[in-house]
Homo-oligomer: 354 residues x 2
Amino acid sequence: MSGYLTYESSGVNIEANDEMVERIKGSVGSTFGPRVMDLHGGFAGLFSLEDSEKFAKNYKNPVLVSCTDGVGTKVLLAKDMGRFDTVGQDLVAMSVNDMIVLGAEPLFFLDYLAADKLKPEKVAVLVEGIASACREAGCSLIGGETAEMPGIYAKDDFDMAGFAVGVVEKDRIVKGQSAEPGDVIIGLSSSGVHSNGYSLVRNICFNKARLTLDSRIDSLGAKKLGDVLLEPTKLYVKPVLAVLEELAAVSEVKAMAHITGGGLAGNIPRVLPENSKAVIERNSWDKPDIFPFLQKTGPVEESEMYRVFNMGIGFVMVLSPQKADRAVEILSENGEKAWKIGNIREGSREVVIK
Amino acid sequence: MSGYLTYESSGVNIEANDEMVERIKGSVGSTFGPRVMDLHGGFAGLFSLEDSEKFAKNYKNPVLVSCTDGVGTKVLLAKDMGRFDTVGQDLVAMSVNDMIVLGAEPLFFLDYLAADKLKPEKVAVLVEGIASACREAGCSLIGGETAEMPGIYAKDDFDMAGFAVGVVEKDRIVKGQSAEPGDVIIGLSSSGVHSNGYSLVRNICFNKARLTLDSRIDSLGAKKLGDVLLEPTKLYVKPVLAVLEELAAVSEVKAMAHITGGGLAGNIPRVLPENSKAVIERNSWDKPDIFPFLQKTGPVEESEMYRVFNMGIGFVMVLSPQKADRAVEILSENGEKAWKIGNIREGSREVVIK
């Protein structure tokens, strides 16, 4: 052994990186649509917006819509469960569900994964989760970065960030400013906690109630608590774009909101015009069992539950009363459970939960 | 005190988040160009690609070019130095320098910041660093996410990821495939280690040589070692776009590479056509003092230095011999030190450093 220092002897494993790239190639390639351009070099991902008859769909006055998000402390649950196939969908959903609020269609996605050590088999499962969600959302996974940083992340810890870019025709942006008293609020079902409120979830389940990830709770069915909590965030792209396809051109979709941190009360006002409020009927939809369980186990006050969690509604759309039933129908045809959960009334940009 | 659990009592500080948003507003707004659309709601950033005479520049067959990167363990140096004004530029530079390799012009940028606790004043300094680099690179900071994750990041630790989108006209993409024997390789000066190789740097300086961040080294001048190592990655956008402006339309810029992990030897072959190699004259440029210092202190073999570090060349451009002098001149007019450092010859996609 010489006295010389090398990069490899300083802890950087170049072979593991090559193996990882090899393993994720198939997942990544499976997401490519016709506008992805494949260039050697790999410095960047390329996506053509060229207006050409060779593409089924073109854009006249394209506005790019871009979002970034992580999945918060849900990555800790994934690590503790040793289960990495679900959080990729959370990552994609957090960004693309934000994007469709404006009426945009997702085009492409990039991910950033950082960990203490990059284990190729773990990264492959995470990336296939991301790729699978990209396929469902109709967007291409055209880039990503993996970073090995043992000084920052503790053993087996990791974090991930996602970036999505979409497009909407300028005259079809859903701005939310045309919602008016009498309009109907449609709620789309969530799959559970999605990706927000996990600090409170952890406090309730593990700190206060001393449950474990392996606990089985009668009211939650046969699944382990950890698996119930890892249930991935729903992707609303397909059903929402189907509604927009039919109704956005005639401006019948007035406003939309992705229900994340802050719940219905925190997210709906973001897209309401002045002088209006949202009145929500709390008994108008089916709530996933996890919410009554968390509320009772805490205990957590009902109002706090609505301020922190989605309470079973992951996305809302506001439509004129003439079009609301048709929208629910289209959503249902596209596999999405949806209910009319309230109305817009005169008020001061608040949400009243009755 | 009631027995009820709340989000706030579970460790989530909503006020700190509001203060942070307030503090970064000015930095973020200062980056906006005329194509940024300001919509209430904040679910996403909007960037218009509309073809309109109201914009100074329009795009006929736009190809979007997208990159993501972090700054690796350089964030640890920033934390240890308690200095957060420089790594924002590293973050922006890592992505936009990759993008211009294809001839693309940066349009917008988004950032992801995650930490144990979000300290508004620290985030404000980090974001102003990002915003300042975005202004220099001519791109708009249209979105970002900050995540507070005490379970993942240890006290005062943080990580960041950046995401850039740019555009290039389809017929002006610099593909690298037209480089041919006789073409000249121009090297653009780096400011130091940039954002790659810090695992080896830390091993040399702190593990082997037992130096500290506060050490002052004669050959490195008056600065503390920590400040020399934190020197931000150079932004090559302005000088490179100036060369492209004059020479790309006539396809005189044959290939480009951003010199990151892997050094000259690892990055130049990524953009070379088959049957060609790059021959680099190692004494043709001035090397920043940090490299001889690291090499001697390690010690590190010269060949390993060239495999890990940029060795003073952060970006290369390949041009015909007829245009190389003019390119150096344009770079110099735009404040960039550049040298003719080698040639393309017949060979098998390798880099020979003579």
